[in-house]
Symmetry: C2
Subunit: 323 residues, 2 copies
């Protein structure tokens, strides 16, 4: 039977991939977005699908609708965007989550919440398992995002324990692919855009800090599997591991240094005249982040399939098409 | 000139002490409280003061008023209370803070926010300086309080940086004294009530975990001094220490084991027939917490003055009077 599905932030990078995937599986999809960082361009091909609806609305204001599932993706995720209006960022994260959970409570919708590796902050444990509590500054310029996302997780845990809302969380690690915002400010879009425009490729610090890069299709696959799991099975799985809240890391554990990423970008764009330049490391920048995906493998039989080389080629093709 | 002052949560333990102190200094005081854990009993002696107003209102709903200063104390602070409705607890912390800051932004009120040592969680650094980021579980049963308070700090930091709201924060460590809730569930009220009623004195674990206990008058004195500081001086002080947000630990660094506290309680109540009993340590219970108050000493010329023996005697006298 066709499911009615709401995606908050559905005109964003990840949300639009999710909408496309769910439509391809025959579901009825409503995308809610305030178009702050999301854009109609990302969902333009979906607008004439009779099973698709776009709803211009800000998730911080209450809303109503009868949905079987709600995917909560609404929140600017790149520092360049979320620091433009920090108060709005933390409000989006917290009040958006609250509105989603309130609606789910009243309509018995299943909730998928996209948390983030940022809740681990600057981790002292490597790689990070779901049981790691994180190392986050409450007062820094990244806090509006990090603490907003931490408080959203707490809301999920409490709506689950207090009201039995069927909520499932993923902590997403660095994800990239077509439909990324070209001025996203994060490393893959930066490097590709710089290389395409023959501009200097900017590395912070000495470029030896590592990141893991997950191609967006791998993330969507994990999310689909998590949402299709039977509730009783899910509860047993987590209870057996001493966890009261279903949360799984979803990311690609292959580590690359920022320098390696720059090298691979230039290798794929041999005509580029770009040079690498080095700048000081910004304050509060996490030095190292890598998911422990044991739990996702056990629960979902999932692991990332798309290597950086291949995903990067797709992403470069997308950015080239924007020109 | 008389200041107009709002205290959210002003019918609670600390809020009522603050109201009394501000009235004694000639200020005009409005106490807002939803009376969830606060009680009219705490402010009964103030009700006929023409400079005092009580306002029955829940801080999670917007409100309006022209005040020179707002003291934000609204939030149940003991696990037994804040875990009764965890969703409401985190909402109180986050939305209450947002409503206070929104009002302050529009009316140019100075804001005093009571944060908490709970934002340090189960600390891996001892004692805890303001620069310590904390070790908090986002998904535990204490998270509604801890993460709510962390997010409230972030809101303060962002309203200050983004809108220049004059906000000053204290991170309060364990505080006790007359007007504590007798069923507060925390250790001092537990021990005194148990000893007064000849019931077993319950220690968790082996009682070797330490706590620092601050008498309420010491806290109020620190708060008064912080709020009377000139803004420019305050900014210089923190900027000189590489901090963008004024926050100070306020607590008593004298450490006592829970066992020592039980001994002192029984020493002061020699007629009590209570016996000590030992129970397993609850999950997520912080093992050790002690403030580093260097910053408060330098900024406010303040240190706690009232020893445990004396404060405990006052508290016992109060609880005895309730019988």
């Amino acid at each position: 039977m066709t499911r009615k599905i709401l995606i908050t932030g559905g005109a964003g990078f990840i949300g639009s991939h999710l909408a496309r995937r769910l439509l391809s599986e025959g579901e009825e999809v409503t995308v809610m977005d305030n178009l702050f960082t999301g854009t109609k361009v990302n969902i333009y091909d979906l607008l004439d699908n009779p099973r698709f609806t776009f709803m211009l609305h800000d998730v911080t204001h209450p809303f109503w609708g009868q949905f079987d599932e709600i995917y909560n993706l609404a929140c600017p995720a790149s520092p360049i965007h979320y620091q433009r209006n920090p108060v709005e960022t933390i409000k989006t994260s917290f009040m958006g989550m609250m509105n989603v959970l309130d609606l789910a409570l009243k309509t018995k919708a299943r909730v998928f919440h996209t948390s983030t590796s940022e809740i681990y902050g600057d981790p002292e444990v490597h790689p990070q398992p779901e049981s790691y509590w994180g190392n986050v500054n409450t007062l820094g310029t990244r806090s509006c995002y990090d603490e907003g996302k931490r408080a959203a997780e707490t809301l999920c845990a409490d709506y689950l324990r207090e009201y039995n809302v069927d909520v499932r969380m993923v902590r997403i690690f660095n994800t990239y692919g077509p439909s990324m915002h070209p001025q996203d400010g994060r490393v893959i879009s930066n490097f590709v855009m710089q290389a395409l425009h023959d501009k200097d490729i900017t590395l912070y610090g000495d470029g030896s800090q590592t990141r893991s890069f997950q191609y967006v299709d791998d993330l969507i696959e994990a999310g689909m599997r998590l949402m299709r799991l039977d509730r009783a099975k899910l509860d047993r799985f987590f209870a057996g591991r001493g966890m009261t809240v279903p949360v799984v890391n979803v990311g690609n554990p292959d580590e690359y240094t920022i320098r390696q990423l720059a090298d691979e970008t230039l290798r794929q764009l041999p005509a580029s005249k770009s040079q690498m330049v080095f700048q000081p490391l910004p304050k509060d920048d996490p030095r190292r982040r890598k998911p422990d995906i044991t739990l996702a493998a056990e629960l979902l039989g999932w692991s990332p399939k798309i290597p950086l080389r291949e995903g990067l080629a797709q992403t470069i093709a997308y950015f080239r098409g924007l020109q």
